[in-house]
Amino acid sequence: MKRYWKLIILTAAVILILGLFYTKTGTANDNGPSFTIKKIQGNEEEISNILLDANYHQSRTAGSGHSLQISAEGTKYFNEQSIAEQLFGFGWDRQIERWQKEYRSYMRGKWPSLSSFFENGKFLAYADVNYNFTGPIGSSRDFTFDIDILHKETGGRVKRETEVPNRNQYYSMSVENVQVTDNVLKVFTSNQVEHQGNHEIEIHVYTFDIQTGELLDDKIIIEEKESLDANQWAEIMILNKHEHIGEEEYVLAKVLNVEHVQDAENSGDYVEQVQQLYFVSYNVETGEIKQFEIPEIKPFAAAGISPIPDKAQISGSTVYFAIFTTDGIDVYSYSLETNSLQGSQKVPLEKSFSDSPVIKVAHERIYIVEWINKRDTDKSIIVADVESGEIVYSGRIELQEPEAHSGEYELYIHDIIFN
């Protein structure tokens, strides 16, 4: 026995130390501190359905920070997901997670991007465009639609692969929105075309039969040059692409033409000047396309502030534009039915808010959340009524047990999610 002491001591030490380490220190709760949303003013009900997607960084320690979600109830850290998910997970989206649980076999092999999905009481539908790398990058590709429609009641599926019509014209395609209406599936895509050296963007709507998955129609909603020369460029995008997975009355796109011009007054610097800004609405039910301008939303480009929203919040036939200004947020509501501005409200913001808060409009409310929060950040959440502009809630993101977590930190908010 005496000759075995090294082996015995070494093994015993290893078992004791690793055993203690993995049983005593705990793991998951050690990610970082907990946060809650603390009311300053207003009705707490207003924030009971929101989740904030956030990232926590402790100052002066390296590392990429930790993903977490904060709600009125508390904090959930990203690391609390299982090892299998950490190693082989394909993203973190609550909606997609829910579908994966509920429709396990249907969700197999699907790209987890919300803009590819549609869900209502009857259907869960998915549309994506696949291609194989055949030629060099930039050459046309063999784009193929991958359609999969699940009939919720019967569990029946319509799965079909279809060649994209005129597919060798495009060198990139992406699905922006999917809708189901009256026995048809409508897939909105943004297609990039190379045309005599010019880049063009085409917004298409492809219509499929919901019973057979057969492609019925291919229609171009917008066709616009993306870049004419070095000083001019355009931005063509569908504004309601993410998060909108349910039925919508309208799909709305924005077309923005910008030119770089030399600013004579200001030391000859190049500034961006908006040449043209218009919108195109597509009525999902009737297929009616309307092109219009909203003169009230003035296309100006001031330093550092993007005046034209990349996202619009559409509810029914009303679209809300939230535009950040120097002293607050202007909320415009615009009717897509009558094509007229219905109202505009200013939500005042205090100075403590930094340049680009996270803004969302939903359920007749506008939610404004400071995107960078520190220990001494005071007010960081404001909820206001979109009709009246009245602030119905204000609060802050509060560190729990501040005495247990010394040091400075940064808490970045990426997104507001509605439960």
Partner: protein, 277 residues
């Protein structure tokens, strides 16, 4: 069984002196490193505040609070870790080759022992494995020591106390060496043990077929790696996103077990039938 432990004890004894050196170097370098960089930090603080008349706030703003992350980012800390890793990697090869090339061809006696020859193989693998875990345990104890030592060296106002997990995360590769959870630990060191078995078997292939064996051994390692990542290839190329994370995980565990059993079985076969002395 007793034969296995005798061999294990024997192999451990043979490396023990060098092992103690690694342990001492790690302890001395990390503790001395902590003392030195904290002293440097405090000296700079004194210079800024007393000599240059700066406020403490402005000093902290420029240099930040002192935490163990300052240590883990220094060579004092990861130098000895790298040394230990490299030493043990070399020893994976050395543990076999010295029996052939050392004094009086020791392998001859080892293989003549009245015991299963596989015991020699397993004892060598367990020696490496136990020593790796010993160093990992040492590092955990050292971090706790350092967490207490830093409290004596740096005044509270200049110090940011990190939890053990924050210290571990502050060093990039630590989440592989000391994973957060026990399951993560099993994954890291299970994979490590598998790699040791594969390398051992590759060494035995070389010892059996000599020059030709170098080539075959290389092919064998490549094949093992391919089997191990085959679920990933399957899910990335042929069935994108078909398997859910938990299914991928189980497939990977299964692939790892196949590689490990394959290595041990092949090692057993070579030791009994093909090995040349």
């Amino acid at each position: 069984m007793t034969n296995f432990f005798k061999l294990l004890r024997f192999e451990l004894d043979r490396f023990f002196k060098l092992y103690i050196v690694l342990i001492v170097v790690t302890i001395v370098s990390q503790l001395a490193g902590l003392v030195i960089i904290s002293k440097l930090y405090m000296r700079r603080a004194r210079e800024e505040i007393v000599v240059n008349q700066n406020s403490m706030e402005s000093f902290l703003e420029t240099y930040g609070q002192f935490s163990l992350a300052n240590l883990t980012h220094s060579l004092w800390f990861f130098g000895p870790i790298a040394l230990c890793i490299v030493s043990l990697l070399i020893y994976v090869f050395f543990i076999w080759y010295r029996d052939w090339f050392g004094k009086n061809t020791f392998i001859y006696r080892l293989l003549m022992l009245p015991t299963e020859r596989l015991n020699v193989y397993l004892a060598k693998a367990m020696t490496i494995f136990t020593m790796v875990l010993g160093l990992v345990s040492l590092q955990i104890v050292l971090i706790y020591l350092e967490m207490n030592l830093v409290r004596l060296l740096v005044p509270r106002d200049f110090r940011l106390d990190l939890t053990i997990h924050e210290v571990i995360r502050s060093f990039d590769y630590f989440n592989i060496l000391i994973p957060d959870s026990f399951l993560g630990f099993l994954i890291s060191y299970g994979t490590g043990l598998m790699a040791v078995f594969v390398l051992f078997t590759a060494i035995l292939i070389e010892r059996s077929y000599r020059l030709k064996g170098v080539f075959i051994g290389g092919l064998y390692v490549a094949a093992s790696f391919f089997v191990f990542i085959s679920p990933l290839i399957l899910s990335e190329i042929f069935l994108p996103r078909f398997f859910y994370p938990i299914e991928m995980f189980l497939l990977e565990v299964f692939a790892g077990l196949i590689v490990m059993t394959g290595a041990i079985w092949l090692g057993y076969y070579l030791l009994n039938k093909k090995i040349r002395v």
